[in-house]
């Protein structure tokens, strides 16, 4: 039963991932990728890491849908079933992909995995949190803040109109001159 489930999830993950490059609709490609990720989340759940598995589902759904929005920006045709090629540098990409796959799969099969010594903790979510946030607290916090700063920095650099354009050099305009005001009015 467990083996069957594993095989189904593993095959789904790989096949859906490969199909991403076979379909000619951006929407289908996006959601096939999502399917692949969901299968991986299922595999993570099978290892008993409930929290991680569910968080993968959560993040991937949001991520793929946000990606779909960018897709509309660059291609507004709804449904978009027009056959189109989404490949660049096909040969190089194929070489990289195959090499990576062989390396990873080879590693997984050839490495002499250690035998489990202890027993899994009673509450894996708690154990995961403690191992991440106990000894590695500083690393995780630095990582988190760095990532967040990167996101904010990218947006600030990319935005054509920042807050100084909208609210004046001293940021003292009573309201912005946006055509469409937000709900707060700044």
């Amino acid at each position: 039963m467990t083996t069957a489930l594993f095989v189904v999830l593993a095959v789904t993950a790989v096949v859906a991932g490969a199909l991403v490059f076979r379909v000619d609709s951006m929407a289908r490609a996006t959601f096939l990728l999502l399917l692949s990720f969901l299968a991986v989340a299922g595999l993570v759940l099978m290892t008993g890491l409930q929290y991680l598995g569910v968080v993968i589902v959560l993040m991937m759904v949001i991520e793929m849908v946000v990606m779909a929005i960018f897709m509309i920006m660059y291609m507004m045709n709804p449904a978009g079933l027009m056959p189109m090629s989404m490949f660049h540098n096909t040969r190089g990409a194929a070489v990289i992909a195959v090499t990576t796959f062989v390396a990873l799969a080879g590693g997984a099969l050839l490495v002499d995995w250690p035998v489990r010594g202890g027993r899994p903790a009673a509450d894996l979510t708690m154990a995961l949190g403690e191992s991440l946030m106990g000894g590695q607290m500083l690393t995780m916090m630095t990582l988190g803040v760095t990532l967040f700063a990167t996101i904010v920095g990218t947006v600030v650099l990319a935005a054509g109109r920042g807050r100084y354009d909208r609210l004046g050099d001293e940021l003292d305009a009573p309201a912005s001159d946006d055509r469409d005001r937000g709900g707060v009015g700044r």
């Binding site: 920006m73 507004m76 079933l81 027009m82 935005a159 054509g160 309201a175 469409d180």
Partner: protein, 371 residues
């Protein structure tokens, strides 16, 4: 079999009606809406949601083509009613449920017509009917391949442009308001949209949901017969009802419509001024409405001010004290206002401007009069 027909009757007992008014039939349309509300038949938002298409007035050539297009997208069981006179309204709607529940006739009609909707047993050729590729893009919205060049022909020019499966126009690139080169789409809005002026079509260039270019026109201008206009008060209430409905405030919208109908039928209008005041007070006091309508310019809301003006003019007209009518807007001004607006805002702008096919001869067209 008996149970089946009973179930079918129950299923179609409360049909959703899609109202397709010809330009200049506001009075008749109001009468139809009143009768639908009396029967508690919901107004459909789109052809897909409709069981019943009510064609109000005598459509000209262009609108007739639109009706044909829409009819293809209405799922069976379905029926179409043409109403050209106020006396026919109740009688025409009376037969609707019986016809919808007539399974044999529905089935025969479904197999006859080239319905785009999937037949009950999907046949391999199910998709072939789209051969002309001119089905509507959305509810009452027609893709117009020639929109880039000149778009005031009919709805069925599918000449140039790149043909996609299904005959949609390929989107092209354009600069957005932040200077990014993004896709834009040429679509026509109307003439069959909820809370939309009769017979109006606006060809827009849409980027995301921001309108970049707009050109409004009325269908069948050349063959339009005598227009029957609503009295000032009723028209103002009609406009207010549309704006409120677009704002998603269904209750007050229905009340405004009820007041309009009371004025039109002239039966019992004693309560109208009081309820009108009440409605106006509610609109002015709603902070959420003010918040959601508020546009550029601190604290002021053009739409809300216009809505308040409309309600005030309704009050004036009901009281019969002044001759200040609700002034229409000319299409060029409307187009200018739509450019740069988001879709939701644009819908409100159109609803509150409420353009009419021909400006009233005795009233000067005052740009900006509606706000």
């Amino acid at each position: 079999m008996d149970l089946r027909s009973a179930l079918l009757r129950a299923a179609v007992g409360c049909p959703h009606a899609l109202v397709v008014p010809a330009p200049g039939t506001d009075r008749l349309r109001a009468r139809v809406e009143q009768e639908l509300a009396r029967r508690r038949w919901p107004i459909a938002s789109a052809p897909a949601d409709a069981d019943l298409v009510v064609v109000v007035g005598r459509p000209g050539r262009e609108l007739a083509a639109v009706v044909d297009d829409i009819w293809v997208g209405v799922p069976a069981p379905r029926t179409l009613v043409r109403i050209a006179d106020e006396d026919e309204v109740a009688a025409a709607l009376d037969g609707v449920v019986r016809r919808l529940a007539d399974a044999d006739a529905q089935r025969a009609a479904a197999s006859r017509s080239g319905s785009r909707a999937r037949p009950p047993d999907p046949s391999p050729g199910g998709r072939s009917h789209g051969d002309g590729g001119h089905d509507e893009l959305g509810p009452g919205e027609h893709d117009d391949h020639s929109a880039h060049t000149a778009s005031d022909g009919g709805h069925h020019h599918h000449g140039g442009g790149m043909e996609l499966p299904g005959g949609l126009a390929m989107a092209d690139l354009g600069e957005d308001r932040d200077g990014l080169a993004l896709d834009q789409l040429h679509v026509s809005l109307g003439p069959v949209l909820p809370e939309w002026p009769s017979g109006l079509v606006i060809d827009v260039v849409l980027q995301g949901d921001v309108i970049q270019e707009a050109r409004s026109r009325f269908l069948d201008l050349d063959e339009q017969g005598a227009t029957e206009r609503l009295p000032d008060a009723a028209r103002a209430l009609d406009t207010a009802a549309r704006v409120l409905a677009l704002a998603g405030w269904e209750g007050p919208a229905a009340r405004a419509r009820g007041l309009r109908d009371a004025l039109l039928s002239g039966a019992d209008t004693a309560h109208v001024p009081e309820e009108l005041d009440d409605l106006r007070r509610r609109v002015r006091r709603s902070r959420l409405l003010r918040w959601t309508f508020r546009s550029a310019g601190a604290g002021r809301s053009e739409i809300l001010d216009a809505l308040d003006d409309v309600l005030a003019s309704a009050g004036v007209a009901v009281a019969g004290t002044g001759e200040e009518g609700h002034v229409g807007i000319d299409l060029a001004t409307l187009d200018a206002r739509l450019v740069g607006a988001q879709f939701a805002a644009a819908r409100l702008v159109v609803a509150v401007a409420d353009p009419q096919p021909r400006p009233a001869p005795d009233l000067p067209t005052a740009p900006g009069g509606a706000s």
